[in-house]
């Protein structure tokens, strides 16, 4: 990767803001879906699709492309919005999310939409699938890198740890995972529902290289991936500490926004239901204005 300029960092943040606005609009239109995760991961998606990934949006099946596997499929609004901004399909299509006949399924389907590398939703099997792609890459002596974006909650699935064990054993240096450590899941905070810590020590014990970053700092995201790409003989886990609901003040760090869209129900402490979408979009637009 080439060194990132201040101009580029600014541009990545701007795109992330636009992605967040689209996520809010899509969810409001769909009247169902997840809010907190997509908003929390918008910066990481922006960094990947507009800086890190070697990809060709107009040739989604280009064999040399880096693979990005989204393991926790429920945050797909951020994937869809990012793919549209990157040019995989028209942004007009975003408003069809979760509707009959749409290519934007409620959880992503590989055969449905260009740019989607796998079908996901049921948690805990994305890392395994990314491993399969990394193994294929090694067999073919291909240069592509495989990235797997995962949630923290899915580390309660046994399959995740089966995959972690396998990747460590097989020294899959062409595999990098990014763990969205936002500390919430549907039923509450992860450490209340089923404690996950110490995540770093667990991955290190499984023979992974581990980097911890602020998942909203673009320089950190980019340098962590650059570091992962030069680590040989080991897969890398980037534990990205993120704020769920990032950018919409009434959603930030509140697990109640994990699985609901804005504008559907009253949540104590949040604006009234009829105002939720408007407030969210105004906050995001204001942030964008300030950054110019």
């Amino acid at each position: 990767m080439t060194p990132v300029t201040d101009k580029k960092l600014h541009s990545l943040a701007h795109i992330a803001n636009l992605i967040r606005q689209d996520v809010i609009t899509m969810l409001a239109e769909a009247k169902s879906g997840h809010s907190a995760g997509p908003l929390g991961m918008a910066d990481i998606f922006s960094a990947f699709y507009f800086y890190i990934l070697n990809h060709r949006p107009k040739q989604p099946h280009w064999p040399g492309r880096d693979r990005l596997v989204l393991s926790n499929g429920h945050i797909c609004p951020v994937l869809y919005a990012t793919l549209a901004h990157a040019g995989y399909f028209s942004r007009d299509e975003l408003k069809t999310l979760r509707k009959m006949g749409s290519r934007l399924q409620g959880h992503p389907h590989r055969e449905s939409l260009p740019g989607v590398e796998t079908t996901s939703g049921p948690l805990g099997s994305g890392l395994s699938q990314a491993i399969g792609m990394a193994l294929a890459g090694k067999l073919d002596r291909a240069k592509y890198h495989v990235y797997c974006l995962m949630s923290d909650g899915e580390h309660q699935e046994g399959n995740t740890w089966e995959a972690a064990m396998f990747a460590g054993k097989n020294r899959l240096s062409n595999l990098t995972a990014v763990l969205d450590r936002n500390s919430i899941q549907i039923d509450g905070n992860t450490e209340d529902v089923m404690p996950l810590e110490p995540l770093r020590a667990k991955y290190e014990a499984f023979n992974w290289h581990v980097i911890e970053i602020d998942g909203h700092n673009f320089e950190s995201i980019i340098s962590a991936v650059a570091e992962a790409n030069v680590i040989h003989e080991r897969p890398t886990m980037v534990i990205a500490h993120t704020i769920p609901g990032r950018g919409v003040s009434y959603m930030e760090n509140d697990y109640r926004w994990h699985g609901i869209p804005p504008g559907l129900q009253n949540v104590p402490g949040a604006p009234p239901v009829y105002d939720q979408v408007k407030v969210a979009l105004e906050e995001l637009r204001e942030a964008a204005r300030k950054s110019i």
Binding site: R110, P122, G124, S128, M133, L135, E162
Partner: protein, 331 residues
């Protein structure tokens, strides 16, 4: 009488007829597939020798992946390989794969339409002494119900080899079912095999019942047909090695001609071959049916042959079912 054009084993009813486990056919077939196509890879979940992957592992060590006792991981890794140009075969006991990892197969292989071949070994009650935990009698049902999935149950080791190789030529998810115990090799190297094409192994001119079976248990159907002929009752015996997609045209024609059906499988009588044939007859040619298989119970430890008898899959049970079905058809 035995069908001539399929070049079945000439020693079929001799005491010294060759016996071989269908899992041996898998071992030979997957090796052939690997020789034929360098994209074929094999994944094993700590059961390499008993699922007969050893030869492949030895010949192609770089294309063999040991995943340990982790069937869910094995299925989802295979999914990633399958969408990346590889043709992965995943091998374990059927109670674990496709048992333990059913959801990974559904989401990441079947719905995701990845080019994965699932080899379910030690299927059926003939697993024997290991007991009911290791006797898969639900796998045909749980795989058949999935969209995109092809389901094959080869009748013997020779056919297992052909079916295993043929699976690598089918684009998309395939489930293949194999047994642990030796069973009679009914076919020969020369017997043709085409996925989706049912084979008539025994046919009399005026059959009163069609015995439709799959797997090694089909031999008991042939023995039953021979006995029934001696008693003056004509039958037709069909090797329905592909349960999905069924050979609708051929099956409907012969079911209409016979007027009654007995299905024969080492599987629960609900949801498997019997279920598939019942769906077909209900839609196209309703006739009386009887079902040979596990009658809604689990098996137990014991010798394979004794278990087959005890759970109503022996030759006598098939004969009784054939007579009952024929009587109900009132032809």
């Amino acid at each position: 009488m035995i069908t001539k054009d399929l070049q079945l084993n000439p020693k079929l009813f001799k005491d010294d007829v060759e016996q071989k486990a269908t899992r041996e056919g898998f071992g030979a077939g997957v090796l052939l597939a690997g020789e034929e196509n360098e994209n074929v890879v094999v994944l094993s979940a700590d059961l390499t020798d008993s699922t007969k992957c050893g030869e492949f592992a030895k010949k192609f060590p770089g294309r063999f992946f040991q995943v340990g006792v982790a069937e869910q991981n094995m299925a989802a890794i295979a999914s990633g390989l399958g969408v990346s140009g590889k043709i992965p075969y995943i091998a374990s006991y059927a109670t674990f794969s496709p048992g333990r990892n059913w959801e990974q197969i559904r989401t990441t292989i079947s719905y995701n339409n990845s080019n994965v071949k699932i080899a379910g070994h030690h299927a059926g009650i003939s697993v024997g002494p290991d007991g009911a935990t290791h006797q898969a009698v639900e796998d045909i049902a749980t795989m058949r119900v999935m969209a995109n999935m092809t389901v094959m149950v080869p009748c013997d080791a020779a056919q297992a080899k052909k079916a295993t190789l043929a699976a690598s030529h089918i684009w998309g998810p395939v489930y293949l079912r194999y047994a642990r115990e030796k069973s009679v090799v009914m076919t020969t190297e020369s017997t043709p095999f085409t996925p989706g094409k049912a084979q008539i192994f025994w046919e009399s001119r005026r059959p009163k019942v069609a015995l439709i079976g799959c797997g090694g248990l089909l031999y008991n159907a042939l023995l039953a047909a021979r006995e029934l002929e001696k008693e003056g009752m004509e039958t037709v015996v069909v090797n329905c090695h592909t349960i999905k997609p069924l050979d609708d045209e051929k099956l409907i024609a012969l079911i209409k001609k016979a007027g009654a059906v007995v299905t024969v499988e080492e599987h629960q009588v609900t949801g498997g071959l019997g279920g598939a044939i019942a769906e077909l007859t209900a839609k196209h040619c309703p006739v009386p049916m009887e079902f040979i298989g596990m009658q809604g119970v689990y098996g137990e430890s014991g010798p394979a042959s004794a278990l087959i008898e005890k759970y109503g899959m022996g030759v006598k049970s098939i004969i009784a079912a054939a007579k009952k079905a024929a009587k109900r058809s009132k032809r």
